[in-house]
Symmetry: C2
Subunit: 260 residues, 2 copies
């Protein structure tokens, strides 16, 4: 048996000082050797953005004097953090990358817009087992305590079994107390979407501008979705892939007279 501790890269999209990543760091310190490389400012809604037309700063920082592990603050996106961690800081692939705990949901279609999940996906692309964790509570003083035992269980299972090539995990926690959470459910991404509303205003110079707002609409009635599991008080775990090919449509599409 290999008793060497796993090397765990921790990142997020709410920024390196966010309470969510602090909980994740504490939990990961019980499991392995931790290195943190996280954005210096909030990156919510950044999707899988990378910084290709600007410079990147990435510097060691001390968040708590008592910490023995190293932490780095990066001016880029979550995906940038994973890239720079692997290439410039660790100089090797970590055994695991965890991202979060996000302040807010990344279930259903939110996975597409999620900076948290983009870090996990980026790690997956680089062949690193990866998990994104999110809590359905946007507040800065959200209670992350009930998530600890589930994070440990899921992380230990991933370290033990590995993940198939091209797959990472998207874990979402309901906003419930430890007693109220019913357990973990493996699910599929619900087929839901946002109905946008733009709040139109006029700035002091008379120029019109907008704030993006919206309502989450879930018409997916399946019993096997992440939304359903969360509604019922479960922790949802969705395996996520980054081969976006709609393989089931290739045959039909090939029969179209595209070359005529």
């Amino acid at each position: 048996m290999n008793n060497k501790k796993p090397l765990i890269l921790v990142t997020n999209d709410d920024g390196i000082t966010a309470p969510g990543i602090r909980t994740l760091v504490e939990v990961m310190k019980e499991i392995g050797d931790v290195v943190v490389v996280a954005p210096d400012s909030p990156q919510s809604g950044m999707g899988h953005a990378i910084t290709i037309s600007d410079t990147l700063f990435c510097e060691q920082v001390v968040i708590k004097e008592s910490y023995k592990h190293k932490e780095y603050s990066c001016s880029g996106t979550p995906a940038d953090c994973v890239k720079i961690a692997t290439q410039e800081i660790l100089h090797r692939k970590p055994d695991l990358c965890v991202s979060g705990i996000n302040h807010g949901s990344n279930s259903s279609i939110n996975v597409i817009y999620s900076g948290t999940m983009s870090a996990a996906v980026e790690a997956g692309i680089e062949g690193i087992p990866a998990i994104g964790f999110s809590l359905l509570d946007y507040s800065l003083n959200a209670d992350f305590e009930p998530t600890r035992k589930y994070i440990k269980s899921i992380t230990r299972n991933v370290l033990k079994n590995g993940l198939p090539k091209g797959v990472v995990l998207n874990v979402n926690f309901p906003k419930l107390s430890a007693e109220e959470i019913k357990g973990i459910k493996v699910c599929r991404q619900a087929n839901a979407h946002w109905e946008e509303e733009f709040d139109k205003r006029t700035n002091p110079q008379g120029r019109e501008y907008y704030w993006l707002t919206g309502t989450f609409v879930n018409k997916d009635e399946g019993n096997d979705t992440d939304e359903k599991a969360l509604e019922e008080g479960y922790v949802s775990v969705v395996p996520v892939q980054f081969d976006l090919t709609a393989h089931q449509f290739i045959k039909d599409l090939s029969s179209w007279p595209l070359n005529d």
Copy 2:
């Protein structure tokens, strides 16, 4: 037969004045009624970012006096452009959304980082048939002429047949002359990735910074990939989905002792 012209939303990620979108606008004007809503500045590598913590400006602009159609320049990302177009400008779903023509490849794993494709995916999420077009030539004076006839063919096929729910098309053109292009091939996304290198420098104040660079590595030897088709001189068409669930792994994952 319905002779009403289709309403076509045109967007991109290189910005509203980029030569690529200008070619796409010209081609679409031959097919339908065009409205352009595109970013006011380049948004390459933005992935599926959306603007949730900042204001959005979106104003009508005149790019060419001779144009009869309307064009809007937006301060946000490509995904923002599609949202604001549908909600605030068109006040209805267009019959088609086309994005591009991107200056540079969006084949293989690039689809994940692509602003061009995020606009198409955003339209798909909203139930609008959508296509992203990209040319494997990053230069501003790239020759988009050879792409015209293929764009027309693919667009007319999509308008005629529609696309399945949850699927959009990712079209890439090889950097070849009209005579050299061999035709269109339907493909899957090649399983390739970028090997990052960071170019480390020191700024005038003595602070270290990085430029992200990298090498594209394709170890996928399949004959049915977009990379292979492009290499052989074909236009690649990959159907892309935004249900990211790795359905094939759900059964195995469900057998893990996550709740123990």
